[in-house]
């Protein structure tokens, strides 16, 4: 049986044994060196489908990862809703300058949502990646989770304050963000995405309480996961501390959970085991300590540590810093290739 990145990753997410440990970057992995190597640069690669796909393909062809992904930032949905976006130039990713709505305003979903902003480019990039690499590596379409999209619709500070005193006022935004996430996710799988990544970075215990996660984030993540169920596995990525909510996250029905090294993976897996939960955990090579600042040996040590903690797939904790060297990311991939995965 011939192994390749796609089969390896899909098998590992299902809990099966593979020829060796799969290695991906759940979040963005474009670096300045990768832009040089592929000839596709920010900011064009944020908007132009060909360049987006070319830079992304470098994840497999240059870095040696088992999956590629698009896009590179977390502002695509907010822009489609009408937020003002600040271009990040060559060095930075786009950011939200002014949110689309003021808290209290009705969050109208644009009728042509999937035709707005950079969504068509992301969908087209998935199609290109699927055609060029789809036989060998997994193509991942990444969307932002409903909690985080809703927060970006009205601004993070007003959203978080309301989450405490007037949580009901947030429901229209959460519901709209859920509907558009389902539309967008389906468009991604129709374009050929093998796996969906949901980045719900604001639903972190660095930001909100476990109670708020359970009430305002998990139910909407679950709706998206249920709606796309069967079409593609879903990896849910949440930043920061999560120990107190790992079981809630698993209960969304997600196929795999991507975590940072702030999470006690070993303890979470033990808790899962007791509760009969089989959801695999992905991670958790620190993008700064190991990948950006560390030596290749530091990176390899971080990979081995994650494996010993019980992850099923090696991935950086979070977005790779763009100043990271190709050599260090390759070192992550090489270290993973030396590890067995018995499932």
């Amino acid at each position: 049986m011939e192994w390749n990145g796609k089969k390896r990753l899909l098998t590992a997410i299902e809990g099966g044994a593979t020829d060796r440990m799969p290695v991906i970057s759940v979040c963005q992995y474009a670096t300045y060196e990768l832009m040089e190597a592929t000839g596709a640069f920010w900011p064009e690669a944020h908007r132009d489908a060909d360049k987006m796909a070319r830079l992304s393909a470098g994840g497999a062809t240059v870095l040696g990862l088992d999956a590629v992904r698009v896009p590179y930032c977390q502002t695509v949905e907010a822009e489609a809703y009408g937020a003002t976006i600040k271009d990040g130039g060559q060095k930075h990713i786009p950011s939200i300058d002014r949110p689309a709505f003021a808290l209290g305003e009705e969050p109208k979903i644009p009728q042509d949502f999937l035709a707005r902003g950079r969504i068509p480019a992301v969908i087209e990039a998935i199609r290109i990646l699927k055609a060029e690499l789809g036989e060998k590596v997994a193509v991942m379409g990444s969307l932002v989770g409903p909690f985080s999209v809703a927060a970006s619709l009205v601004g993070i500070a007003p959203f978080l304050k309301a989450s405490l005193k007037k949580p009901d006022s947030l429901l229209p935004y959460l519901e709209a963000a859920t509907k558009t996430a389902i539309q967008y996710a389906k468009a991604m799988t129709e374009a050929g995405a093998d796996i969906l990544v949901i980045e719900d970075m604001m639903a972190s215990l660095d930001m909100i309480s476990p109670r708020a996660y359970k009430k305002l984030a998990a139910p909407y993540e679950k709706q998206v996961i249920e709606a796309v169920g069967g079409t593609a596995p879903v990896i849910l990525h949440i930043c920061g501390k999560l120990d107190a909510v790992m079981t809630y996250i698993a209960e969304t029905g997600v196929s795999a959970i991507s975590v940072e090294s702030a999470v006690d993976v070993h303890a979470a897996l033990e808790k899962f085991h007791e509760a009969g939960i089989r959801t695999p955990i992905l991670g958790a090579v620190h993008p700064i300590h190991a990948l950006l600042e560390g030596t290749e040996e530091d990176v390899a040590a971080a990979v081995r540590k994650s494996s010993e903690d019980g992850v099923s797939v090696i991935s950086p904790d979070c977005a790779v810093a763009p100043a990271t060297t190709i050599a260090n990311i390759k070192a992550m991939a090489e270290a993973a290739k030396k590890i067995e995965n018995r499932g």
Binding site: K91, H92, D97, I156, L164, I208, I288, A321
Partner: protein, 224 residues
């Protein structure tokens, strides 16, 4: 009547801690009507309440939304107390230039650092978010700052911090303006690597670290 004064000061601290904005405002009005010194209410009421909120945050009893609401309660009372503040000529009040690096528009953490620094008695020059490296340096010079505090939430924008330190070195200003960095992806190791002088992991810790930086001077700067 000082008994009434102490009671209100205590109640102000509780109102901040319990995120009661209206209560904080009405207590502040009552306090001013009683003719008490506004400074005491800020120092021992509002700041004490906010410091306690910071402690609960470090213990993971409070999260970011709670801190934001505490800050709203504090600001509601502060708006009423401030006009009655008898300006104390304090030459010793140190200035901190604060901002979020270029390319990053997340400013919640920076705003919390500002509140904690101000309640600890610092004059804060808040540059806002998405700030070019050279603007940190210029603001520090113009305001005779004792420190520059820089924040970012994203791994993709951390490079801007290094650029600030580089500019300071280039203009031989780094000894005058020590740099403290913080924010989600920042670590003590990163701070050391880019030549920053200190690191804080959250807004409450930032006050202690800035205290150290400002009071000890260059020679004894704490190790990052």
């Amino acid at each position: 009547m000082s008994e009434g004064k102490e009671r209100i000061i205590e109640a102000l601290a509780s109102a901040v801690l319990n995120m009661e904005e209206d209560e904080a405002a009405s207590l502040a009005s009552e306090y001013i009507a009683g003719g008490h010194d506004a400074y005491d209410a800020i120092e021992r009421g509002l700041s004490a309440g906010m410091a306690e909120a910071g402690r609960l945050f470090e213990e993971e009893e409070y999260f970011i939304p709670e801190l934001l609401m505490c800050a709203d309660a504090m600001n509601a009372a502060l708006d009423i107390l401030k006009p009655h503040l008898v300006k104390k000529e304090s030459a010793s009040q140190a200035t901190v230039v604060l901002g979020v690096v270029e390319g990053d528009t997340h400013d919640i953490g920076k705003n919390l650092v500002k509140i904690m620094l101000e309640t600890a008695g610092y004059r804060v020059i808040d540059l806002g978010r998405d700030i070019a490296p050279k603007d940190f340096v210029r603001a520090a010079e113009e305001n005779g700052a004792s420190a520059i505090a820089i924040s970012t939430l994203m791994t993709t924008t951390m490079g801007g911090m290094e650029e600030v330190v580089r500019l300071l070195e280039e203009q031989a200003l780094h000894d005058d303006f020590p740099v403290i960095v913080g924010g989600g992806p920042i670590s003590p190791g990163f701070a050391r690597k880019i030549g920053a002088d200190a690191y804080a992991s959250n807004a409450a810790e930032a006050v202690r670290v800035v205290d150290n930086l400002v009071n000890r001077g260059t020679a004894e700067r704490i190790a990052v």
